[in-house]
Amino acid sequence: MKSEKLTIAGRSLGSRLIVGTGKYPSFEIMRQAHEASGSEAVTVAVRRVNLSDRSKESLLDYIDPKRFMLLPNTAGCYTADDAVRTARLGREAGLSSFVKLEVIGDEKTLFPDNEGLLEATRILVKEGFVVMPYTNDDVVMAKKLRDAGAAAVMPLGAPIGSGLGIRNLVNLTLILEAITDIPVIVDAGVGTASDAAVAMEMGCDGVLMNTAIAGARDPVRMARAMRLAVEAGRLAFEAGRIPRKLYATASSPLEGTPFIP
């Protein structure tokens, strides 16, 4: 049975929205967007320190660790081995055993390499990580990841950064029907508020996004839009929508219409 809140490996979050930290116009705008988003978990990347230029401000100065859970990712890793090593470094740097696991299989689409992803999941689960794998919308893979011990499955809605929304409602529905014991979080593809609402209305447990907020003309405003959209979609899911019908049904009563002789 799924919880009232988004709960990953026993950790409950006050929001079903997870946001990224990349590509903002500035750290300050990022900070305000995080605030507006209502989120309590943010993804971060693990990158080599720049030994020739240490002047850069630190991302972490703009993230309140009391408010936000850090979710290091393994973005940019093309093998299970790289992803595992990156995850370990991320745990040490972020002081968190949560990892957004990515093993990329194709540079142009950034689609996951599911074989490598599954292998890395198995290794990291054994090492005590809370593994949240970024995968595609394949129900068979979702079940394998779950069986391998993933704490959530995170199917993409569309290519990372594409803003194309959820392209395959059928596949996502099949995943939601099959995966009922751990959260299903749509990761990647959301372009605007209604995309997030759609995901939540289908019954997803959460939505993860970065570019849709960071790349909007006004990221702070879009962050607020996403917060509301995720809440709206979740409420609509819980409220039970009306069935779709081809024909009209009057919303005003037929009885008592004036002027009928």
Binding site: G22, K23, A45, R47, S58, R85, E92, N210, A214
Partner: protein, 67 residues
Amino acid sequence: MIEIVVNGRRRDVDPGLTLESLLAALELPPGRVAVERNRRVVPHGSFATEPVEPGDCFEVVTLVGGG
């Protein structure tokens, strides 16, 4: 001097360093970075005792913005 690799680049350093003193020499605040030595993560608690030896390969990373 001994030769090591840090973040993919060769570098000559004094012999006898620990990881802690290496980071200090690189002007890196230890609290903000994570380090892998020869494909094994070094816990923060071991920085002071972890040796730096000829041929060592270090990855020194930090958290940056990402999605």
